[in-house]
Symmetry: D2
Subunit: 333 residues, 4 copies
Amino acid sequence: MLKAAIVGASGYTGAELALMVNKHPELTLSGLYVSANSVDAGKPICELHGKLQGIIDMPVQPLTSVEEVAQQCDVVFLATAHEVSHDLAPTFLENNCVVLDLSGAYRVLSEGFYPQYYGFEHTHSKWLDKAVYGLAEWNEAAIVGADLIAVPGCYPTASQLAIKPLIESNLLDDTQWPVINATSGVTGAGRKATMTNSFCEVSLQAYGVFTHRHQPEISSHLGREVIFTPHLGNFKRGILATITMKLADGVNQQQIAAAFEQAYQGKPIVRLQQDLPKLQNVENTPFCDIGWKVQGQHVIVVSAIDNLLKGASSQAMQCLNIRYGFPMLTSLL
Amino acid sequence: MLKAAIVGASGYTGAELALMVNKHPELTLSGLYVSANSVDAGKPICELHGKLQGIIDMPVQPLTSVEEVAQQCDVVFLATAHEVSHDLAPTFLENNCVVLDLSGAYRVLSEGFYPQYYGFEHTHSKWLDKAVYGLAEWNEAAIVGADLIAVPGCYPTASQLAIKPLIESNLLDDTQWPVINATSGVTGAGRKATMTNSFCEVSLQAYGVFTHRHQPEISSHLGREVIFTPHLGNFKRGILATITMKLADGVNQQQIAAAFEQAYQGKPIVRLQQDLPKLQNVENTPFCDIGWKVQGQHVIVVSAIDNLLKGASSQAMQCLNIRYGFPMLTSLL
Amino acid sequence: MLKAAIVGASGYTGAELALMVNKHPELTLSGLYVSANSVDAGKPICELHGKLQGIIDMPVQPLTSVEEVAQQCDVVFLATAHEVSHDLAPTFLENNCVVLDLSGAYRVLSEGFYPQYYGFEHTHSKWLDKAVYGLAEWNEAAIVGADLIAVPGCYPTASQLAIKPLIESNLLDDTQWPVINATSGVTGAGRKATMTNSFCEVSLQAYGVFTHRHQPEISSHLGREVIFTPHLGNFKRGILATITMKLADGVNQQQIAAAFEQAYQGKPIVRLQQDLPKLQNVENTPFCDIGWKVQGQHVIVVSAIDNLLKGASSQAMQCLNIRYGFPMLTSLL
Amino acid sequence: MLKAAIVGASGYTGAELALMVNKHPELTLSGLYVSANSVDAGKPICELHGKLQGIIDMPVQPLTSVEEVAQQCDVVFLATAHEVSHDLAPTFLENNCVVLDLSGAYRVLSEGFYPQYYGFEHTHSKWLDKAVYGLAEWNEAAIVGADLIAVPGCYPTASQLAIKPLIESNLLDDTQWPVINATSGVTGAGRKATMTNSFCEVSLQAYGVFTHRHQPEISSHLGREVIFTPHLGNFKRGILATITMKLADGVNQQQIAAAFEQAYQGKPIVRLQQDLPKLQNVENTPFCDIGWKVQGQHVIVVSAIDNLLKGASSQAMQCLNIRYGFPMLTSLL
């Protein structure tokens, strides 16, 4: 049994991770942590997340000694803020823990990216160089040997899974940028009290246009420019991404279907659709549903995920399963 | 034209009041105010409430000199916290303003009530004695001559309009307490950022059981005990109250119908229903819909209002219309 | 491995049952059925319920020969209309199947009840006499030996679990009827297209007041009269029931707490709360959360369940686990 | 006073029209009609639309003699299906009524368009030639003299108001098609019971991709190709459209701002935003909110309307006000 710790257990992704670790036959939950000054420190996790009552009653402890926690676990999930993950990961790694980081701190292999988009200097280039991007369906080989896995963001997961097959098969026109319009549930903004997240203020709107951190994450991993427009929707969980792309000359329906089928054959978490996906089919599931329509020289691909699961926690667990050679779907369904 | 000021214009009821004052042919909006240390001070009201854009762009000003504001208006709406209203009302009254207070500060004609339920000593007994309770359909005669009108709370409005006709007609069994179960939209908690109001945390639940301030407000004005259980619902506006009561011996359907019809004849804001009310029919309207069912010795009465309108702002405006002899529905529809 | 069939697999409870049977280590899904003339006959279940894609793709077959289906399974779940269940159960029973009926057809052990509340004559008194009411926490002993288990309705489950401990401990005043106000998500109305269920028409309202079938189901199993007022809420899943009761003379807080604790000790599906339950904590879970508040001679108990799970499918599975001696929580979490 | 009739009064747009006609100081409501075989025929409109109680109780009558109705009114609103409007309009026109058609029957000035996109032959080319497209902010001069006004669709209104200023000012790159992603509330699908509209099935999804009738409506009136992807959202009212466009070489922020300001100066219904629009600000209002962001060679414009008002009924009323020279905002606010 591997001992798994979760740092950042007070948030929504932390709660999902706790449920999955608890259910996993090869893992034992060694500890739940929050930052030392959190108001939640010391409370049972099921008091923060009522749905965990009767399942997990372990307290979330203040993370006072990182070293000590690192020595008591084999694997750690960092469901923490970007800069916190940046700071914590090395200590865990130096203590031979496998780190699954759900923040953006190790997602892009270029230090220069961090001051510009995340507002801090990246000072762990050694580890950044070794980090593996945990887009599970596309990076299995690298994940197998990884000690530091940077689990992709929610929008980047929905977007890349929808676009990558067409890029890999060279089906897109290079001169026009894919246009990604995506709508996320409010859990995407984290568990906190803000006017933006206030029930009475939530209403469909675009935000972070041209400035959202996930745009460069998507661009850098796809290797091409995209236009990414995130929206806040009036629902709790899920992301629906609608992506409009221009096809290369002469590309036909069959080539597109073939590209998707080839990319996701044997990948049970991606469910290719006859029709277009509907958000509720993926809520509370680890799946990514993808459908598309073609007309003339354009293709519209729609993908749907649960932002807290395939967009965060269940993808982290997929990566762990790959890393340790456990059956891919263990504890996911 | 009467000059009307609104104090507490940054909140949801303040915005509704501003719209109604703006539309009222006999009123001119003389000023919008917030407390001097509010982060909203100085902003145009339409920046706080986007739906007011193109309609009202007056700034909400810090309330630095109450005296000065009082001298510049004929009528003031206090959409402020209980203790703030308690403190402000006398200055306005002494400057000959008519005060429509939407807080609880002058609703119950007993000083002893305030320390217990509102947490402050009432020190304006002179004005408390003169305050008139603004339950518009039941208190017209007193409202006509009033200078200080205490507009009822949202739950008390929905509850009393449903229960009072049966009490006035002596149709209820005295030995059993009416059981009021009511569900309110989240605007009822005000415009602010709290975990309770956070989009992801809102989910149907009871709260304030046996301790909500509206229980004694209802009881004291009905003159009898009630059991009042408020709930928070996953919607923005509206209150639905379901009230279960035991009938006095031998009371029949016809007597109940007669009691309601007599109570609300010529009262256009109360719409008696053949069937039971549905919340969305009253959303964004000044109406109170009431329906009921009888079986054996029990009657169930259901009432529905928009908590921000009949439960606050439009009832205040009804009171103003009554006070000044304007047609009852002016600016309400 | 027991072979389990599901009749009525096109509905929401059918889909939940299919997921649980699929996950259960002691069950194998032998067939999914719908009535022979259903428009859904022949379709893969994952086409009807998109969330089942990648998990179960078995078609829902037209139920042409009940006899034949009965011979091919050990256990059958009837997620069918009341009269359909009434007609189907005997054939399955005569073929030695264990029947878990999720309809009302065998819930009340009095034939006279059916014409009055369900609109049909009950013609299988032999089986009705043998039917066991599947309120899992209260009826384990009888369920163990049962061949026909009548799984309780959703409202009756939420209501009885909240009231029964107080009745069993003789804590209630006999002269006043418990007042049950409950709000259900729209899935409670089944998977079908009606104006009432239309997205734009759904809005909090009471319905079926004094006439809902669940009132006599609750009354007959509690052995006392109740007033039951169901409401339709603007959410998909879940029931919150708020129950107001008068206590017998001299009953105190400790007695009430003791009654609940004693009733549900060792019953992991009922989670007693320090505070009052919130609906979302039980959504997509098999739990029933119960909390209460006492003041003077009144107690208010609030219970919350997922109407499709503890209110239907997961309670059926609990009964199956009890019936066959499988660990209580198998396939529930 | 002009006599105004509404055909199709049972639908959501019909109800909004009735409210606005009722409020309009220059109009009198001469009759409400539904098709002769409608189940709603004969019912008071406030029974179909509960929110109209106490405001309008006129019955919706079966439309048996079009001729007769036409002779009794000066203006008619056709809130009817496309083919029904196609058939009805000529009779009203021949009887000298001004026709405001809210369907698609007279929106595109090319007969060939109808069989392909609407499934019927257009047989009234004489009237089609005279029809004026009622995009109020852009077509005032033509509307003034019109007898047949084809009120634009909801998506086309949101889209064109956002795109047209940039086309008129020649700011767009001609080689790339504007990408319109829009999400509509469920009222957009009309007042009817379908599985798609069923509360439990509604969940964010794209639909009608490359095949929606509004695509050619938008394209033909803009005079250029667009890619239009409509989505169904989990809310009742409103449309949010996010439009991504490539700018012509060298176009800068100032030119874009100038184009919008020039286009909508003196047009109070379009509210240009500093930031991006939020859907709830336009719900239950006649406004169209428009905001935009520019980066490099791309602009993203977001527009928001209430689909039943600016996307249908209030735009029809705007057209009527223009047609008759009434103040633009009469009965809109």
